[in-house]
């Protein structure tokens, strides 16, 4: 099949929301793109207007690839598509640096990627990406509803302002677009994990009901289910449930001087000084 036909088919199945079909079409399309030298934008293939238009179509194909992989839970392939899209977004011919644009498909993909990194807990990668976005000429961060979302999320997460995040995640109308809803569950999971870690360090004991509140579990959930969920999903240990109150067992690490270590060190110094003299 020719590239045109495949592209048309990809567009239509993406419109229909048939993501598994998209996944099937994508590999042959990529092969066609490679044949036409369109998979990677370089200086030599982005000169004339026609070439730029072709590249724009290639970019759209990859964007669809990224979105459909994401929506069919194929994160590995989502990451690959994002990596392939990066040279497109950095290309001067395709994205002239003279004007800033907000709320484009490009920023949508970028912020979805940021959200993905955040939900996986890859904070240092998140900041590496952010550094590029902050300093690029064509992303208007202040006015971009897509980019604002992950940035705010990370900031609140670092501050420990979990209340705000909860409000942000809980209402669908806060989400800039539907694709973001995909990460909600993983993010809530990550959020609860963080809160649980803080709780066990902060309190000596806490009534179960209050704890449910803090972790944003529904009040009517039975204590047994709550306990089970806690130990299975949040990997909590040392939580004791007694009479409606949770006690946190703190095994303080003993910091007393370790004698054998001291002796070892001193012998080591003696040896060194001996060699100096």
């Amino acid at each position: 099949m020719s590239l045109q036909k495949l592209t048309a088919e990809l567009y239509s199945s993406f419109e229909r929301g048939d993501y598994s079909q998209c996944q099937n079409i994508l590999p042959p399309i990529k092969i066609e793109l490679i044949k036409h030298n369109l998979l990677v934008p370089v200086a030599s293939n982005s000169q004339t207007k026609d070439q730029v238009n072709d590249l724009k179509i290639a970019q759209r194909i990859l964007e669809i690839g990224a979105l459909s992989s994401l929506l069919s839970n194929n994160y590995q392939s989502f990451e690959n598509f994002v990596a392939q899209l990066k040279p497109f977004y950095a290309n001067i011919q395709l994205h002239p640096s003279s004007k800033k644009h907000a709320n484009s498909d490009a920023t949508k993909i970028k912020s979805l990627y940021l959200l993905y990194l955040l939900s996986q807990g890859l904070i240092s990668k998140f900041h590496t990406e952010l550094e590029v976005i902050y300093n690029s000429n064509h992303d208007d961060i202040e006015n971009d509803k897509y980019l604002q979302f992950p940035i705010n999320l990370e900031r609140n997460l670092m501050e420990g302002n979990y209340n705000k995040i909860w409000k942000l995640l809980k209402e669908d109308k806060n989400l800039p677009c539907q694709e973001f809803a995909h990460f909600i569950d993983t993010l809530i999971q990550a959020l609860r994990f963080e809160i649980a870690k803080s709780i066990e360090k902060t309190y000596e004991s806490i009534p179960i009901n209050n704890c449910k509140n803090l972790l944003y579990f529904p009040q009517e959930q039975s204590d047994a289910v709550f306990e089970k969920e806690l130990s299975e999903e949040l990997e909590v240990e040392n939580w004791k449930f007694e009479n409606g109150i949770i006690y946190f067992d703190k095994n303080e690490t003993v910091l007393n001087a370790d004698n054998s270590n001291v002796i070892h060190n001193v012998l080591n110094y003696a040896e060194q000084i001996d060699s100096i003299i």
């Binding site: 900031r155 420990g160 302002n161 902060t202």
Partner: protein, 481 residues
């Protein structure tokens, strides 16, 4: 970049002195070539700084130098003269110089001298801001450098690469030079050419960081090994870039070590002022991000625009979110220019944390509501989460009583009953010992053979002294930002 003082208008006599100097350099270079001793080259480079200023003031010197290098027609001569814009009177020049050339015939056309002249032309074009010409010349130089494989050229090549990258940077074209840099990095590494390897690694890192391509830079650092015995200036630069990469990747303690190393290794002359300033700015931010407050004398000691950083420190120290917001707004452009804006904006959480810490130190028991009001936070619920995160991160030692809604600070622990002082002490002793070992290793002893040939020694004694001085000062030259 340093600015040359205005030189007087070029006269015949200054031209002659310049020619003499270059002649001297030629003879040193040929010595270096024949004896494989790179210290001669260090000596040549020590004089490069003043020479560069003189050449800039005297436009017509370089064509005659080129003519002297290539007495007969030569392809390299054509493009060199073209770059200098002196094509038409090339023939005349040739006649002029043949006489002097016969005297120094041994000096001409050794690869060392050849590349040195290329370097001079390149620097001249750069200084006179003829970037496009410099760029075309650079393409030729890269080809030329590929022809040679001599260890005596290492230093010159390293320097030439520096100026090639600088030209591209001034042209705003960061991407096209990368393949050339990478391929020559490979060649230099295979030849154990430490100087060029080190130089190119720093250039690549600078290139990546300028285009904010942190992941690329991190990959490069991971895959390459920075040569241990590279010049101090290069090592300082390398550590500075490492500090930058690590700070962006949130590894503040490594970043802090690197930035301290960079500042210590940087040459302590006025040429490196710019470098030390930007390194110090980075250091202040890293320390703040680590939760430390830099000492006041850091700000007093330096010249330059440290004011914004001072106010940021103040805001963090006071734990005042409002003040922090104001400072961030006011100096946004300054931080962006220094490429530090993302780091500064990360400090917001530290402001809150110090705020909580101050409260925890002053009150043994305080209601969450009061904390909320004091720190200008949104709600009591958020306050509870934020305080609890601070406890988890080890910022404060406290517990929260949820039912009654207050925070209770723990009694301070006696550190001397723990292992901490012992560890701290251990670290310092280890540092002193390794410092001692390193200094023993890096001492330089004269060769035994020198003692036997006393006569030779006396003759070359002066030479030797010069070279030692050159090594001390030589690599301080051309210290960028």
């Amino acid at each position: 970049m340093k600015e040359a003082a205005e030189e007087p208008a070029p006269s015949a006599s200054t031209n002659e002195t310049i020619l003499k100097e270059i002649d001297q350099s030629f003879s040193l270079l040929s010595k270096a070539g024949s004896s494989y001793d790179n210290r001669y080259i260090s000596k040549v480079f020590r004089d490069l700084g003043p020479l560069r200023r003189k050449i800039r003031a005297a436009d017509d010197v370089l064509p005659s130098v080129v003519a002297k290098l290539y007495p007969s027609a030569h392809t390299n001569k054509v493009y060199l003269l073209e770059a200098l814009g002196a094509e038409e009177n090339a023939d005349e020049m040739e006649v002029d110089s043949t006489s002097s050339n016969s005297v120094n015939s041994t000096n001409a056309e050794t690869p060392e001298a050849e590349l040195y002249v290329h370097l001079l032309v390149q620097v001249y074009l750069l200084d006179t801001n003829q970037l496009a010409k410099a760029d075309t010349l650079n393409a030729n130089i890269i080809q030329l450098m590929k022809l040679y494989n001599r260890r005596s050229l290492d230093f010159i090549q390293a320097k030439i690469w520096f100026f090639i990258a600088r030209t591209k940077e001034l042209l705003g074209d960061l991407v096209t030079i990368r393949p050339e840099l990478l391929s020559s990095l490979r060649t230099a590494t295979l030849r154990h050419d430490t100087e060029t390897t080190a130089s190119i690694i720093t250039l690549l890192l600078r290139n990546y960081l300028l285009s904010h391509d942190i992941s690329q830079a991190a990959n490069l650092v991971e895959k390459t090994e920075f040569p241990e015995n590279a010049g101090n200036a290069l090592v300082a630069r390398y550590y500075y870039y490492l500090a930058r990469i690590n700070s962006i990747q949130l590894d503040y303690s490594t970043a802090h070590e690197c930035v301290i190393a960079a500042i210590r290794k940087a040459p302590q002359t006025h040429l490196a002022n710019g470098f030390i300033q930007s390194a110090s700015k980075l250091r202040i931010l890293i320390e703040l991000l680590m939760g430390d407050i830099p000492e006041l004398k850091v700000f007093h000691k330096q010249a330059g625009s440290f004011e914004p950083y001072f106010y940021v420190t103040q805001a963090v120290k006071l734990g005042d979110l409002k003040l922090f917001g104001q400072v961030l707004n006011k100096y946004e452009t300054v931080f962006k220019r220094d490429d530090n804006f993302t780091l500064v904006s990360r400090l917001r959480q530290n402001v809150i944390k110090t705020g909580i810490r101050i409260i925890s130190l002053s009150y043994s028991k305080i209601s969450l509501k009061d904390i909320c009001i004091k720190l200008h936070l949104d709600s009591e619920e958020s306050t509870e989460y934020i305080v609890s995160k601070a406890i988890r991160d080890g910022v404060i030692e406290a517990t929260i009583n949820h039912q009654k809604g207050f925070m209770q600070s723990k009694e301070l622990l006696d550190v001397y009953s723990t292992k901490l002082p012992q560890n701290e002490f251990d670290q310092r002793i280890k540092f002193c010992l390794s410092l001692h070992n390193d200094s023993v290793k890096s001492m330089r002893y004269p060769n035994d053979s020198d003692d036997k040939a006393d006569a030779v020694k006396n003759e070359s004694k002066e030479d030797e002294m010069d070279i030692m001085r050159a090594i001390e000062e030589g690599d301080l030259d051309d210290f960028l930002d």
